[in-house]
């Protein structure tokens, strides 16, 4: 088999390289486990530790102290040709965990994945990723991962497990007893084919798909309206007016990375473009999308139907369609309706509520607006969220009736996230054969007879078709670290397929590529690119079958509950990922917890204060977080917390609120439940927020204007910059650069605050995780933070997201004050920080007006007090060997990814050519789903940053201080009337 590999993203020779070794027996020289035992001893935490594998080094401290320890250099026994120690390889792959989809490149060093980058060849995600995707690489090195298969809680081996399960499955098949394969959504065509074939072998097996947060109502509504139970593909890039009801399409809903690309692409204002889409958001909790809306209207869950129906009535009234009576409510939807009508066929109405009635109204509006076949593509279906809540309910009922003899569970954790966990668990106890494929011993796996740990996706072969026609490949980038086996291989073993899944996949793909392959892409090329687009037959949009609309049942008698997914933790799959746990929520900036969000007015009325503990429904105790923009009379709580069997970082963080889901209708809904909320007198619970002050105090920090003003005057909202430029004087000569001057430019108009960059930076630069207590002490280590400011109305504020990192000032205040010259300026305009020179006076931190410098308050490596990935031999595998792990007592900060700059400079020198524009791509910029960050050479007049710098929107943060930052920001433009 031949396999191509990426040297790096662009302009790399396609080299024929040997395949990564496959199979289950780990090669001695590749096995991280092996190294774990023999080589990595003692406190080798720094770069030398990281030089391991291909060039592993171990230090043995001698008994006599003053001697330098002996370091061993252990070469590979046989060095594979594609492995050059010290040079990264990039493999195209796909991230899919049952919920989120992303096409990615995996950066490996010495055959060890260390970073996820976006794949720019993907037509769907276009080099974007999300924070969860970025953090997924750390899951590979999670200590909680199972190292062996388990049989009734005891360690076992694959032969025994295979023998016993095959036997039992065979027996059940003969008896004709019902066995259920319960999986998360599977978008892999090959896996689906495999499951189909597997079920042919065991005809008694039925297959149920379960999504903890489902979208089955959309499928149901579309079945009623179009006769197809599908989720259509939405074109946010084609929509001029978007009205969203609780659909957080920039954060969680379906394909957030794709939608972010589309949405922000439609709103770019560079190069004289003044055309911008407009977003209306009706929602209960402040979501990431809501924070980016031009108009945001907080509504209670019970009001969603009313408002939607009014919107429908407005449009129908003008279009001459049937209107329906609506009880009066306080919301005016006329403006939205007019905007939509003005942009017929170029508008989009979406709702994230999992309620058929709501979705039927949404469909009716979109139909009236003629959006089908223009902004909504019913032929290009989205394959995510295939779960059917009704079938899941039936399954649980059957289990309780004892009708299920066997249950194989892949990538699901209903014992944690099924809304009625107790019902599920009691049902599970009645099941005879219980098999889990979980990677870790999660809540469900604990209850199973057999746990057959699946490989991490970075160790697996797979494919994915998130959107019909858009396929991508998952390929292993590392040998399985532990004695685990891919789910598909397990099925093949039990179905006696012969061979393994990689050959099965290849065979399937060869067949797939033989037809409908216009470019004639080879299998090798597909593996190289990671993506493949099948020729799509245009297909006709099916006719609309009108349905009678009715308002959903709604209970508005008390405090209404609106559950939501956090940008970091999501549904709780990655609750043991310290990066995600510590990622500040883009809206609340809270880390490490979930909490009950209430509106300021509500809080005042109920005498609730930040960190007061409330009891929800008399059972769940949660701290209060007063959230501006939260709909009055509602309370919002994030899902995904309160895991009890996630691992050392994620156990017992926050509270599990899945049981508060609304199951009144046939679907499980995040909102709609009415809860009681009582204050626990005298009890508080500390919350770790990274930002405690939420307004700008009238300072010109994040600048904004409206589209109308911007068209009239491109520098509107940014008048201060001109003033500063004209009035700045200095005693000193301007810094003179030759050849290279690095600069960054951040478009606040594009940035949605999704925090992908924060995690990308953390992964790239070995940023430490410090735990809740230290975050609470305001000591977060992230080099990049996203400042979030509110303005205007406290009940419904306007939101700014402002990524802030080291500005690399030419007149840097921090440089002047360091007594030991540990920080100074480079000829390339970088503010350099020499960690090993730093003695930790922290004067630079004080004197940095942007407060972007971070101090190592403790030793964060090999310290049991900070028991996260850097305290585990396995967890440290994720560290980037090009970046040193900082010692206690030194100051660190954004280096503009100096290691990437140096790497690309070296490459250019080796190839005897000048550096190309866009060649050096920094970590935060690479995977930004909205392309808000630009980076390049300011001395090159044709570079993107140079051009953006000339734009009228551009300003320097705190420019009046005359720090001359190399980083500039561009005014946020809101598309609203005033």
């Amino acid at each position: 088999m031949e396999k191509k590999y990426w040297q790096s993203l662009e302009a790399y020779k396609e080299l024929k390289k040997s395949e990564l070794p496959q199979g289950n027996e780990p090669h001695a020289e590749f096995s991280i486990e092996g190294l774990d035992e023999s080589e990595i001893k003692g406190k080798s935490s720094r770069r030398d530790f990281l030089k391991m594998l291909g060039f592993s080094v171990s230090a043995v401290a001698l008994a006599s102290s003053c001697q330098t320890p002996i370091r061993k250099a252990i070469p590979l026994l046989n060095q594979p040709e594609d492995l050059i120690p010290g040079v990264p390889n990039f493999y195209a792959s796909t991230f899919f965990d049952g919920i989120d989809y992303c096409s990615i490149l995996v950066k490996t060093r010495e055959n060890r994945p260390i970073k996820i980058e976006g794949n720019d060849l993907s037509p769907l995600t276009k080099s974007g990723t999300s924070a969860r995707v970025q953090a997924s690489v750390l899951n590979l090195y999670d200590d909680a991962r199972l190292r062996k298969p388990f049989n009734n809680g005891n360690e076992s081996d694959w032969e025994t497990i295979d023998r016993e399960i095959s036997q039992q499955l065979g027996g059940l098949a003969q008896e004709g007893k019902s066995v259920v394969l319960l999986t998360s959504t599977i978008i892999s065509p090959t896996t689906r084919k495999l499951i189909k074939e597997f079920r042919e072998i065991y005809p008694n097996i039925t297959w149920t798909t379960y999504d903890e947060v489902s979208a089955s109502a959309i499928r149901k509504a579309n079945e009623q309206n179009f006769g197809r139970a599908v989720i259509p593909f939405y074109h946010f890039d084609k929509a001029t007016v978007i009205v969203s009801f609780n659909a957080d399409f920039l954060g969680n809903w379906l394909l957030p990375v794709t939608f972010s690309k589309q949405f922000s692409g439609r709103r770019k204002l560079s190069n004289g473009n003044t055309d911008m889409s407009r977003l209306y958001m009706f929602e209960s909790a402040m979501s990431l999308t809501g924070s980016n809306a031009d108009y945001r209207i907080p509504i209670k869950p019970s009001e969603e139907g009313l408002v939607l129906m009014s919107l429908y009535n407005e449009i129908a009234g003008i279009s001459g369609a049937t209107t329906y009576p609506v009880p009066s409510h306080g919301f005016d939807v006329k403006q939205a309706a007019m905007d939509l009508l003005d942009n017929k066929g170029k508008s989009l109405v979406v709702s994230g509520t999992n309620n058929v009635n709501i979705q039927l109204i949404v469909n009716a509006i979109n139909q009236l607006l003629g959006n089908y076949a223009s902004t909504i593509d019913l032929n290009k279906t989205v394959n995510l969220k295939q779960g059917d809540d009704e079938r899941m309910r039936q399954l649980v009922a059957k289990m309780n009736q004892g009708q299920v003899a066997g249950l194989l569970m892949y990538n699901v954790n209903p014992a944690y996230n099924y809304p009625q966990t107790d019902v599920f668990i009691s049902g599970l106890k009645k099941v005879g054969l219980k098999v889990s494929f979980a990677e870790t011993m999660d809540e469900t796996a604990l209850l199973c007879d057999y746990v057959c740990p699946d490989n991490n996706y970075l160790e697996s072969w797979n494919d994915a078709e998130a959107v019909k026609g858009y396929l991508s490949i998952t390929q292993p980038t590392i040998q399985p670290i532990f004695n685990t086996r891919q789910f598909q291989d397990s099925l093949m073993a039990w179905g006696s397929f012969g061979g393994d899944f990689s050959t099965y996949l290849e065979a399937n793909w060869k067949g797939l590529l033989s037809s409908g392959n216009p470019d004639g892409k080879s299998w090798a090329k597909v593996k190289h690119d990671g993506v493949y687009t099948r020729k799509a037959d245009a297909g006709e949009t099916p006719g609309f079958i009108p349905q009678g609309l009715k308002l959903p049942e709604a209970n508005s008698s008390g405090v209404e509950l609106a559950l939501y997914e956090k940008i970091g933790i999501g549904t709780g799959k990655y609750s043991n990922n310290p990066w995600l746990l510590e990622m500040p929520d883009p809206i609340t900036t809270a880390t490490w917890d979930n909490y009950a969000c209430v509106s300021p007015k509500f809080a005042e009325e109920h005498q609730l204060q930040f960190e007061d503990v409330v009891k929800i429904n008399g059972q769940i105790e949660l701290p209060v977080l007063v959230q501006p923009g939260q709909a009055y009379g509602t309370v919002s709580i994030a899902l995904g917390f309160g895991r009890t069997a996630a691992g050392k970082a994620g156990n017992n963080v926050g509270q599990n609120v899945y049981r508060l889901m609304n199951g009144k209708n046939s679907t499980f809904q995040l909102s709609g439940e009415v809860v009681s909320l009582e204050k626990v007198i005298g009890k508080t619970y500390p919350l770790a927020l990274t930002q405690m002050h939420h307004t700008m105090e009238g300072r010109p920090i994040a600048r904004e204007t409206t589209l109308r003003d911007f068209i009239k005057n491109p520098s509107s909202g940014n008048e201060k910059e001109r003033f500063n430029e004209e009035n700045n004087t200095t005693l000193y000569q301007k810094v003179n650069f030759d050849g290279i001057q690095w600069g960054m430019s951040i478009d606040l108009s594009s940035c949605t605050g999704c925090a992908n960059c924060v995690i990308a930076c953390q992964a790239e630069n070995n940023v430490a995780v410090i735990g809740k207590e230290q975050v609470k002490n305001r000591r977060i280590m992230h080099w990049m933070r996203i400042d979030r400011y509110y303005s205007e109305d406290v009940e419904n504020p306007e939101v700014f997201h402002m990524p802030t990192m080291c500005q690399h000032c030419d007149n840097a205040p921090c440089e002047n004050v360091c007594p030991v010259a540990a920080t100074n300026h480079s000829t390339e305009g970088l503010n350099q920080m020499a960690y090993n020179r730093c003695i930790g006076t922290r004067y630079c931190i004080n004197n940095c007006p942007y407060k972007v410098r971070r101090f190592n308050w403790f030793e964060f490596t090999n310290n049991n007090q900070f028991d996260y990935n850097m305290n585990s031999e396995l967890g440290k595998m994720v560290l980037n060997p090009d970046v040193i792990v900082r010692q206690r007592g030194v100051v660190e900060k954004c280096s503009l990814c100096i290691q990437r700059i140096q790497e690309k400079k070296l490459l250019a020198k080796m190839e005897n050519r000048p550096l190309k524009e866009g060649e050096v791509v920094v970590a935060c910029q690479q995977s930004c789903p909205t392309d808000a960050i630009g980076f390049g050479n300011l001395q090159n007049p044709s570079s993107k940053v140079s051009k953006e710098r000339k734009e009228k929107r551009t300003y320097h943060l705190l420019g009046h201080l005359h720090t001359l930052p190399s980083t500039t920001y561009m005014t946020k433009v809101r598309n609203k009337e005033s």
């Binding site: 050849g739 040193i884 280096s895 400079k905």
Partner: protein
């Protein structure tokens, strides 16, 4: 008397510079010549392990004039897979095989064109076309002398390091004696003698302590025992195997790389007996393969963790000869660290070393420096001038 890292560096660095200049000249010529022959030279590096061109018989025969002795087609077949060729019953091949102690030549996967290029290279007398005799023959000589003197210096300094401890002890004793005399025994009446002795001793001891503590963690003249008595003198010196044949990633990676066993096996699949150690040491390679365990070499040149050093930058881009940092490896049976690898030593070179400014197109973007060269303001561009002494060139 003590290596300050600065005082001693001057002449050394100067020598290094002279020597580099010549080596660069050499490399310049080679890069100017035809690409094919340059490649041939690289490919011939493998052959050099057993063959010479006019240097007499090593393991295999002297290849000088081989194109006249044998037909091209014969050579092609032999080179590609000699064992197969011999077994096929070719009498000439068999004869050659037996003449050379029946040591088979390992098969190669070179293309016909590549082999032909090598032959052309051999015909040329082992020189890249275009390079003049004088350059090749004469330049290495002074350089080698320099290296030899470096070697002597290294040994001398090693001895000096020994003396340092003795000095330290003697002076400490002197201080104690003079204090004793001053307070108790009072043999010497002239007190200024005590004062002078103590002052001088304190200054010298202070200097020793300062320099020794500066050298803490550094390993100049470090020469550990290796698991295999591998001699660079034999391989790089006598057999003239190119450094980059074994340390083959030095051109493209930050690590020069310790060769994996399969590189050893390229030659040692045939060469099973060493001149000095017989089969004892070479057998360790085979045993490593049998036990499926890599050889655990002791790393000699260690940099602290906070230093990022990239071999490709220096070897490939900067055209720095290996010996400039590693010393005369081809004269060492066991590798010894010649330089102290201190930051001062690095910086000193960065200050003096000239960048391949005109030759590498990467540097085209430094327009102001180019102008200065044109206007004659500066004669050369050193690494320092493009920011080579800045923190984040090495520390990140």
């Amino acid at each position: 008397m003590i290596n300050t890292g600065i005082v001693f560096k001057k002449p050394l660095a100067l020598n290094a510079f002279l020597k580099n200049g010549l080596l660069i000249l050499l490399l310049l010529f080679s890069s100017l010549s035809f690409g094919q022959t340059a490649e041939a030279e690289a490919n011939f590096a493998v052959c050099k392990a057993c063959h010479t061109i006019g240097g007499g018989k090593l393991v295999g025969p002297d290849l000088k004039g081989v194109t006249e002795r044998r037909e091209e087609a014969w050579i092609l077949r032999f080179v590609k897979n000699s064992t197969e060729f011999i077994q096929s019953g070719d009498p000439v091949a068999k004869q050659v095989f037996e003449e050379n102690n029946s040591i088979p030549m390992p098969p190669n996967n070179l293309t016909d064109e590549q082999i032909k290029d090598i032959l052309l290279y051999i015909e040329n007398g082992g020189k890249v076309a275009g390079a003049s005799e004088a350059v090749v023959e004469q330049t290495p000589k002074p350089a080698q002398d320099e290296l030899e003197s470096t070697m002597i210096l290294a040994e001398k300094k090693q001895a000096e390091a020994q003396n340092l401890y003795i000095t330290f002890i003697i002076l400490s004793v002197l201080i104690v004696i003079s204090i004793f005399d001053l307070l108790v025994s009072k043999i010497l009446k002239a007190r200024w003698i005590h004062v002078v002795i103590m002052l001088i001793s304190v200054v010298v001891i202070g200097e020793i302590v300062f320099l020794e503590s500066a050298a803490l963690g550094r390993q100049q003249y470090y020469q550990p025992e290796q698991p295999i008595m591998f001699s660079h003198k034999v391989h790089a010196g006598q057999n003239k195997i190119d450094c980059k044949y074994c340390h083959f990633t030095a051109d493209e990676s930050m690590h020069a790389g310790i060769p994996p066993v399969n590189v050893c096996m390229n030659c040692h699949s045939q060469v099973k007996q060493g001149k000095l150690t017989g089969t004892k040491e070479i057998d360790k390679i085979y045993s490593a393969i049998e036990r499926n365990k890599p050889i655990e070499w002791i790393k000699v040149h260690n940099l602290p963790d906070h230093v990022y050093f990239n071999h490709a930058q220096h070897v490939n881009v900067g055209k720095v000869a290996c010996a400039e940092c590693h010393g005369p490896v081809e004269k060492m049976d066991q590798i010894i660290q010649v330089e102290d690898l201190s930051m001062g030593w690095c910086i000193q070179c960065h200050r003096e070393k000239e960048v391949q400014f005109a030759d590498n197109k990467f540097y085209d973007q430094y327009t102001k420096l180019h102008q200065q060269i044109k206007s004659g303001k500066i004669s050369k561009v050193t690494v320092q001038m493009i920011g080579g002494d800045e923190c984040q060139k090495c520390h990140y």
